[in-house]
């Protein structure tokens, strides 16, 4: 008995769903349906494009803000890392340049002051930490 009730309900709901899908089966069917409901299709399209554009702008703004926040977190992490490195008794810039494959020529290295070295290393480790994070997301 229950099985029969379910069968009849299922067939009826399928009818409703088919009718709804038929009203929106393609652009022509959808335009015909909306017009038959007394709606202005051009207004719907223009209003829809405006709303989508606004959403895209908001999403992009949120993504940029998130990226900047993330970059800031990695910069703080890199700053601490570099300060610890510079305070280490064994610190050797030449060794860091080689192991981290930093794009700094040895002639330039000799001309760098302490702040320059710190800034270069912070920039390098910020990017490195961000890449590592992206790599772990992909896996």
């Amino acid at each position: 008995m229950n099985k029969n009730i379910n069968k009849h309900k299922s067939e009826f709901v399928n009818l409703i769903l088919n009718a709804v899908n038929n009203d929106s089966s393609d652009k022509e069917a959808a335009m015909a349906y909306l017009s038959s409901e007394g709606l202005d299709v051009n207004r719907i399209v223009n209003e829809g494009k405006r709303r989508i554009k606004k959403m895209q702008m908001e999403i992009n703004a949120r993504k940029t803000e998130k990226e900047m926040e993330e970059a800031n977190i990695y910069k703080q992490q890199a700053t601490k890392w570099v300060d610890d490195l510079l305070n280490n008794f064994d610190f050797s810039l030449t060794s860091i340049v080689q192991t981290e494959e930093l794009a700094v020529s040895f002639r330039n290295v000799e001309e760098l002051n302490k702040d320059d070295i710190r800034n270069i290393l912070i920039k390098h480790y910020t990017l490195k930490f961000m890449k590592e994070k992206d790599g772990s997301r992909e896996h």
């Binding site: 709901v13 089966s25 959808a30 349906y33 038959s36 829809g48």
Partner: protein, 201 residues
């Protein structure tokens, strides 16, 4: 169709199709509810659900799986899911199943997007209605109109699509459209007779 194709002039089709889908569903669904359709729309306009679904896609396009259907089917499914979940979650709705809990984790469901719509819609239609009696009532009102009968049986018993019905029963687009409109009037009339909420109202 993906995001790049949509950017290249695909939005028009999507906007028109989804607005027609949401409006057509809300209209038919409301026939089986008493009074205003507040539990379905939660104080919003029907098109708000269209743009919420599009917004969710723009925010996380990776959630769309093209192997389960096209982008329009994916968005139709999401609109339906939002509308029906709203309705099911409202305390004043005593007539439908709690679809929200039943389908809470259906992101893992690997069936296609159009097939996923039926369980939601099924759960949202009242159990108290005698659907077999509705079927008899509709067949009685169709009263041997061949076009109407073909459309009804095609949609009801065979789950045929618009184009399949037109081709199978050798009818033209105008006959089909008129037939569907007449059938809507009959189904709406049937809903008044058999809907327990409207009988109580």
């Amino acid at each position: 169709m993906d995001l790049n194709e949509l950017e290249n002039n695909g939005w028009d089709d999507l906007i028109v199709t989804l607005n027609a889908f949401a409006r057509s569903f809300a209209k038919r669904y409301s026939w089986f509810r008493s009074g205003k359709n507040t539990t379905l729309l939660m104080g919003k306009e029907i098109e708000d659900y269209v743009y919420e679904a599009i917004g969710r896609y723009l925010e996380a396009p990776e959630k769309f799986d093209p192997s389960r259907g096209d982008i329009i089917a994916f968005l139709k499914y999401n609109i339906l899911r939002s509308l029906i979940s709203n309705d099911a979650n409202k305390d004043e709705n005593k007539y439908t199943e709690d679809v929200y809990h039943r389908f809470d984790d259906d992101d893992d469901d690997d069936s296609n997007y159009l097939d996923r719509m039926l369980p939601y819609t099924l759960a949202a239609f009242p159990e108290q209605i005698d659907y077999q009696a509705i079927n008899k009532y509709i067949l009685n009102l169709i009263n041997e109109d061949e076009v109407l009968e073909n459309i009804y049986l095609g949609l009801y018993q065979s789950g045929m699509k618009r184009r399949e019905i037109i081709k199978e029963f050798n009818m033209n687009e105008k006959d089909y459209n008129n037939g569907v409109r007449q059938l809507d009037t009959i189904i709406r009339s049937a809903s008044k007779f058999f809907n327990p909420q409207k009988q109580q109202a």
